[in-house]
Structures are given as structure tokens and as C-alpha cells.
């Protein structure tokens, strides 16, 4: 590589350190929250993104100087942090850890969409307001912004250190992080400390957002998601919950990423993050610098399954509903309705798959869309490249999704509770990144077009109504498949694993085996749905099955009731159809999903039909 001279090497070093500084800021915030509230905060990226937008408004719209901008960003983000803690999370303190985690996902959905509604989803240009001159320092060129970022991060780190070490409040915060109950007994107002932690973390995140916005000269709503994952990766690298670890992890991640991009190209940027995320979680859950411990720090376990008596749905009602669904195309001439419902059937399959893995077997999966993607690409490629007939390629897609997806998820089986959520999210992203980067197979970001259309026994299925029936048909087959498994010993065994994995092992249940079986069975159903989708659209790319799809599916499942198959279908219909029926709401659908998730977790964790 000729251009890879010593000079560019040094420049990359500066680049990496500067970006690493911002990652460190994000990671410190996550570490503080994890330490004090024992929570993986998925809303942190949204606060960071909002900080970036506030900064952008101040500098670009209002023309304010940077100093005033940072003060306003800090104030607004601190307020936001306190609001999130007070209204989103405080009541969930004593629930299973997965409950506040889901609430933060809901909050982040809502915040992201809100910003999108106000400022449009498009990136906004954020030109660097500082002088463009660069200082040459011994062969390295450093810009004013580089210096500013380094200075601000250093100043914040010093202030934070002084605050945590030498002030009463900082002492109370550390005491709370160490032992909440003991701190409470010593007279520490732990609720206030919680709020304070969220405020501090939000300020750090928001300032990081402004700096990254200036650094990459643009702000956009979806920047939240990547930043949050980077923050987690940095945090894990340094040891979850450790503030110095977060700094080291952030810098390390910045460097790894910058050099990786220089070597392999910018499409690989995020892959490093996810590989670090999963690698550290699986191999060294306490981080590279954390204390060696035999087991991951897991003070709280338990899944998000509320005690409830599920609503019993009589068989006649199920059959009646099915007949009505089959007859519907004869009574409506509205193709739009049928299209929406076709989508609902496909989402129902995703929801069934999630309700099996997450609801029945208790493995909180945030990466289930990865199974859709594998199924979609496998079936599309098999029919395009090998000319497989559609029925076979659909089946093969499902089987490949189940096998490959489960294999990729295997390392996660040793984790529990919220770490499963984090790791499966990472695995979903890795699948996405592989699709993006394996151009020879997947055509990269261009996607696959001209995928053979649906057909059945040689007859093309291209009209709206036949597609509707076909989708309904495979949903029924998938549901019967799952139902039968649920009635067998597998249903009981999965639920036992979910309820208490220690007792389950003591009764002779091999956890890995039954977790794998759950992912295989769920993967078959999700893979089939993804495969069908690919042929229905005739075009897919890496964004067809985005990570938000996984979360949307999970929301459907929680709405219907965890582990409840009828609930999964009803949740899918409700969340696919409702925003479409009230047309003005369609643009705000993710806002609705976020709020629904938040409200469910808080007020009706058992969902509409109850958990099974």
C-alpha cells in the first residue's frame, strides 16, 4: 500500500485519538449509569444525538459562539437525562433488569423519531465553525477542532475525577454504585443520586454529540444508534461500569476503528465495533482491564415474564378468525388493506419467532432480524444463482437461517439476562455488516434486484390477493409447527429454562441444547418470513431487515404477551396495521412503537393476552 506512509500513519493516530476521545465521553456516561443504576442504557445514544442537534441549532441557526453552545447543550441534555430517569425508569428500579432496558429502548425510539419529525431524517450539514488552519507538529497535522476535542475531553475527565473523588456528592455516587442498600442506610438519597448520574451522563453524551457533529460536519437522527453501540463496545473493552476503563476503551476503540478503516475501507467501520462487542462479552465479560472473575458480573437475573394467567382463546375463535382472514379478499376491493395485512402476516412470523426465543425460552433477542436477513438472502441467491424452484428455495432459506443464525448465536448461550440482549443486538449487526461487505455474494449496499417472484407449484403468485393468501398460508404452517412444539416436552423445557436456569440444570436440562433448539425453531420461522419477503419485493439490501425490525418485533411480542402465540399475531397485526389505518400517524410510527413499548413495560408487562 503505497499511500500508507509514516505521515498518514501519524495522522491516523491523531484521528483515532480524537474520535476515541468522543467514544470515551459516551462510554463514561454509560459506565456511570451502569455502575449506579445497574442498567444498560439504550437511550444514551439518543441523548448524544439530541445534544448534537441542539449544538447544531445554536451554532448554525442562531449563530452562537461555541462556549454558549456547550452551556446550552449541557443544560438541555442534563434536563433530558433527569426526565428519562424520573419518568421512564424510576418506577422500574426493582423489576427484572430487562424491564428498564426495554424502557430505554422505547425512549430511544421515541426520541429518535421526534427529532426526525422536527428536523427531517436527512443529515444536516454542520460546518466546522473553527478556523480551518492546521498546525504541523513534527510531521503530524493537527486542526483546531482536534485540539478543542482533546482539551474538552481532558477537562471533563479532570472535573469528573475531582467530582467523584473529592466532593460529598461524588462520594455518595460512588457509594451508591458500590452498594446501593448500604448507601441508602447511610442516609444517601439514592433516587437523587440516580437522577444526578443520568444528568451527568447526559451532559457528557450531549457534548460528545456536538463534537462529533462538527468533526464529521453533519448531524442526522440515526447517529444515535451507532454511537450507543460504540459506547457499549468501548465500555465493555474497559470493563462494564468502570470509568477509567471507559476512557481507555474509548481511546482503544477509536484507534482500532481508524486504523481498520485505513486498511480495509470505510464500510468496515462498524464491523470492528460489533466484533469487539461480542468478542469481549463472550470471552472476557469483565473487560480487558477488569478484574478476572469466573462469572460475568450478574447480580440480577430473571427474565421479563410477568406472572399472569393468559387469556384462553377458544379454538372456535381461532378457526373463525382464520376463515375470516381467508375470505377477506372476496369482500374488499382495497388492495392496500390486503398489502398491509400481508405485511402483518410476515411480521407475525417474526413475532412468533421472537416470542419463542424471548418469551418461551427467555433469551432476550434483539437480533432476530438477522434471521430474516439470512433467510431472505439465502433464498434469493439460491433461486437466482442455482435456479432452485421457489418452494425449495423458501425452505432452504429457512433451514439456512436457522442453522447459520443459531451457529452465530451459539457464543451468546453462556450469557444471561441483559448481556444476552446486548450480544444478540451485536450479532444482528454483524450479520448486517457481513451482508454489506461480502460484495461478491450479496452485492453489498447495492442489494439484490430481480429476485424471482413468488410462485406456487409453477403458477406465478404476483397479484395482491394470491400473495396475501400465500403469506397467510405459510403463517398458518409456521404457527402449527410452533404450536406442536409448544405442546411437546420442548415447550415445558424451554419455559423451565426461562423461569430458573439453575433449577433447570439441576433437573438435568442442558441449557445450551435447549437454547439452541429454541433459536433453531424460531430461526426456521423467521427465516421463512425473510425468504418470502425477498421474493415478494424482488429487491432486498442490507437495510431491508434493519435492527429496528428486531425491536419492532419484540414490541409486538410484549404487546401481545410474552410467549403467547396468539398474542404475537395480534401484536403484529396491531402494530403493522394501526399506523396505516390512521394515515397521519404513519410518519410517526416509531414514535408510537417507542411509547407503546415504554407504557407496556411500565403498566402492563404481561401484555394484552398475558404471558404463557
Amino acid at each position: 500500500m503505497p499511500e500508507f506512509t509514516l505521515r498518514t500513519l501519524a495522522d491516523q493516530l491523531v484521528n483515532g485519538l480524537v474520535i476515541g476521545n468522543v467514544y470515551a465521553l459516551i462510554a463514561i456516561g454509560l459506565a456511570l449509569i451502569f455502575g449506579v443504576a445497574n442498567l444498560i442504557n439504550f437511550a444514551h445514544g439518543s441523548v448524544y444525538m439530541i445534544g448534537a442537534y441542539v449544538g447544531w441549532v445554536c451554532v448554525i441557526w442562531l449563530g452562537w459562539p461555541l462556549g454558549a453552545t456547550f452551556v446550552v447543550v449541557a443544560l438541555i441534555c442534563a434536563t433530558l437525562g433527569v426526565l428519562i430517569e424520573r419518568f421512564g425508569l424510576r418506577r422500574l428500579q426493582n423489576e427484572a433488569r430487562i424491564a428498564p432496558l426495554l424502557a430505554t429502548i422505547g425512549i430511544s425510539f421515541a426520541l429518535d423519531q421526534l427529532v426526525q419529525l422536527i428536523f427531517s431524517p436527512n443529515p444536516q450539514s454542520f460546518p466546522n465553525p473553527l478556523p480551518a488552519a492546521r498546525i504541523a507538529l513534527g510531521g503530524v497535522s493537527i486542526g483546531a477542532l482536534d485540539l478543542l476535542i482533546a482539551a474538552i475531553t481532558a477537562a471533563i475527565a479532570v472535573m469528573l475525577f475531582i467530582f467523584l473523588r473529592f466532593t460529598r456528592l461524588g462520594w455518595a455516587l460512588r457509594a451508591t454504585a458500590q452498594d446501593r442498600e448500604a448507601a441508602q442506610q447511610m442516609g444517601v438519597d439514592v433516587d437523587a443520586i440516580n437522577a444526578l448520574t443520568f444528568a451527568v451522563a447526559a451532559v457528557l453524551g450531549g457534548i460528545g454529540g456536538v463534537m462529533i457533529g462538527m468533526y464529521f460536519t453533519s448531524v442526522y437522527p440515526t447517529m444515535s444508534y451507532g454511537a450507543m453501540l460504540k459506547g457499549f463496545a468501548a465500555n465493555l473493552l474497559g470493563g462494564l461500569g468502570s470509568v477509567p476503563g471507559a476512557v481507555v476503551g474509548g481511546l482503544a476503540l477509536g484507534l482500532i476503528e481508524t486504523f481498520g478503516v485505513a486498511l480495509l475501507g470505510s464500510t468496515y467501520r462498524n464491523l470492528f465495533t460489533f466484533i469487539i462487542l461480542i468478542g469481549v462479552l463472550v470471552l472476557r465479560p469483565t473487560g480487558l482491564f477488569g478484574a478476572r472473575r469466573a462469572t460475568p458480573p450478574e447480580p440480577l437475573t430473571g427474565t421479563f415474564v410477568a406472572n399472569s394467567r393468559p387469556v384462553h382463546i377458544p379454538r372456535a375463535l381461532v378457526i373463525g378468525g382464520l376463515i375470516a382472514a381467508i375470505l377477506l379478499p372476496f369482500f374488499t376491493s382495497n388492495p392496500y388493506l390486503l398489502q398491509i395485512l400481508t405485511n402483518a402476516w410476515l411480521f407475525s412470523m417474526l413475532a412468533l419467532s421472537i416470542t419463542l426465543v424471548t418469551g418461551t425460552a427467555g433469551q432476550m433477542s434483539l437480533g432476530q432480524a438477522g434471521f430474516l436477513a439470512i433467510g431472505g438472502y439465502a433464498s434469493a441467491l439460491l433461486s437466482m444463482r442455482l435456479g432452485l424452484p421457489l418452494e425449495l428455495s423458501l425452505l432452504a432459506g429457512a433451514v439456512i437461517a436457522a442453522a447459520l443464525g443459531t451457529l452465530l448465536t451459539w457464543p451468546v448461550f453462556r450469557l444471561r439476562s441483559q448481556y444476552v440482549a446486548l450480544a444478540t443486538l451485536g450479532i444482528g449487526e454483524v450479520i448486517n455488516q457481513i451482508i454489506l461487505n461480502w460484495e461478491g455474494l450479496t452485492n453489498g449496499a447495492m442489494g439484490l434486484s430481480n429476485i424471482p417472484p413468488l410462485s406456487f407449484l409453477g403458477l406465478p403468485v404476483i397479484e395482491t390477493a394470491p400473495i396475501y393468501w400465500f403469506a397467510l398460508g405459510i403463517l398458518v404452517v409456521a404457527a402449527l409447527f410452533q404450536w406442536r412444539l409448544m405442546q411437546s416436552h420442548l415447550g415445558r423445557t424451554w419455559r423451565a429454562v426461562r423461569e430458573d436456569d439453575v433449577a433447570a440444570r439441576a433437573m438435568g436440562i442442558s441449557l445450551n441444547r435447549y437454547k439452541a433448539l429454541a433459536f433453531i425453531a424460531g430461526g426456521l420461522i423467521a427465516g421463512l418470513s425473510g425468504a418470502f419477503t425477498a421474493h415478494m419485493y424482488s429487491y432486498i439490501n442490507n437495510e431491508t431487515f434493519a435492527a429496528t425490525t428486531s425491536i419492532l418485533g419484540l414490541t409486538m411480542v410484549i404487546l401481545g404477551g410474552m410467549g403467547n402465540m396468539a398474542g404475537a399475531v395480534i401484536g403484529a397485526i396491531a402494530l403493522t396495521a394501526l399506523p396505516e389505518l390512521f394515515r397521519p400517524l404513519a410518519d410517526a410510527r416509531y414514535l408510537i412503537y417507542g411509547v407503546v413499548l415504554l407504557l407496556l413495560v411500565r403498566f402492563r408487562p404481561q401484555g394484552l393476552l398475558g404471558t404463557v
Binding site: 411437546s488 423445557t493 423461569e499 439453575v502 433447570a504 433437573m507 438435568g508 436440562i509 442442558s510
Partner: protein, 293 residues
Amino acid sequence: MALLEVRGLRREFGGVVAVDGIDLTVNPGETVSVIGPNGAGKTTLFNLITGLDKPDAGEVLLDGRPITGLPPEELAALGVARTFQHGRVFGNLSVLDNVLVGAHTRQAAHRLRTPVLGMVAELILALIQPPAWREERTRLRDEAREVLALFGDRLLPRAEQPAYSLSYANRRRTEIARALALRPRLLLLDEPTAGMNPTETAELLEFIRSLKQRGLTILLIEHKLSLVMQLSDRVIVMDDGRKIAEGAPQIVRDDPRVIEAYLGHPRRGWDARDAQVAGEDDLRVVLPQAHHP
């Protein structure tokens, strides 16, 4: 040959030696009790025997075969069943399903041990439900009901109710029923009567006695004196991780070292629920009179 033999077992938690060189043997058909003040290391000893925790040193033998460090699921398959001190029923499963989980290792599915193929076979067979599986299913259900029937009308009428809706004592009974469904060769009970009132305790005592009479080998952790005295063939006393006495119940009770051990420990980790219902019978109440001014 001894059914269970433990040699020099040791487990340390960051400086605290929870189990410190314990030796113990349990012969077939015997009921052996492990007693000792709170924090003596009894539960840790159970965890080491049942594979939920790995020892730092020492050996565990079942039928003379080393089982040290085997995972709990394999020990269960070898016939080692246990209950937990603080109760670990599967809350959202029905009482009957809880007991059926206990029979997990006795299902045909459990014999499909080949790594990947066995798993796929299990999925396919669960889907098809061949006649042999269907027959096994009914048989295990009947057996589970028989196990429930051992508790009179305590559990049987509630067989279809979710376990979380049961009373405390019934949840503990469910857990014992679950362990029995495994058809254990060795049953480990960790404070089965904790939190039970005197009537319930007396009932459970008779129940354990009936198990003993049927020849079941039992290792029991208990704090309630009369229960230990009536049930045990032998008693092992632990304190601070070490075995400080062993022998027939009467002899151990009058051993000055045992009284000393209980006196030496103010109620460490005292369980409020136990305290309420323990009454005069609890070793921790009977012995340390120093705490009753």
C-alpha cells in the same frame, strides 16, 4: 460401597473458606444430616456435590466413580436430585409441569445424546410425536400425578395451577415432588422445612420418614432439632467450613464442641421468616441461650 463419598472438599470465596476439607460418606439407604450455624458452608457443600459450583480441591465420588466438576445436568442424569434452600420452583409452570420437568432425564428425548444430530432428531420427533413418545407422555403424566398424590390433597387438587399461586409450604412441597420425579438415587434436601409452621413441619417430617422407609438415600440440611434427631442415621456438624463433629444424633447433640459452635455464632444471617415460625425446636434457638436474656 458408599453411594456418595466426599474427600477433602474445599471451596474458597475471595478469602472466605466456605468449605474447608470436608470428608463425608453416605451409604445406600442412609439419611445423613448436615447441621451447623448460619454461614457454616452447608449450602456451598451441596452446591459442590451437585455440580452447581466447582471445588478448589477435593473429590466427589458417586458409587466410587469420580464425579467432581461434572455439570449439574449430568449429575441429575446419574440420579442426583436436590432442592434449594430458598425454593426454586418454576413459577409460571403448573405444578404438574414442574414435576414433569423433574422427569426430564427419564424421557426418550434425553437419550438422543449425539451432539448436533441428536438435537435435530429431538426437534423432528417432538414435531411428529411417534406413538412411543405419546405413550411415554401419558405414562410420565400418570407418574407425576402419583408423585403429587404422595402429599395427600396438598398438591393434587392444584396440579394445573401455576406454581407462583401456591402457598409457601406448597411451593416447597412442589420442589420436593419435582426432585422425586427424577427417581433419584441420592436426594439432597436443603432446609426443606425452612419457613414452615410446626404443623407443616411435622407433616413433612412424616413424609421424609416415609421416603426413608422406602429405601431412599437422603442428605439433609436442617436447623430444626427434633426433625434431625428423628430422621438422621448420622449427623455431621459443620462450622466455619470445617467438620467439627460426626456421629449418631444423640451423641452429636450433647457434644460440647457443637454447643460451642452454635454459641460462638450470634445469629449470623438470621432469617426473619425462620425466626417467626421456628419456635423452640430450632437448633439455633435451643442452643444459644445466651441470646435470650
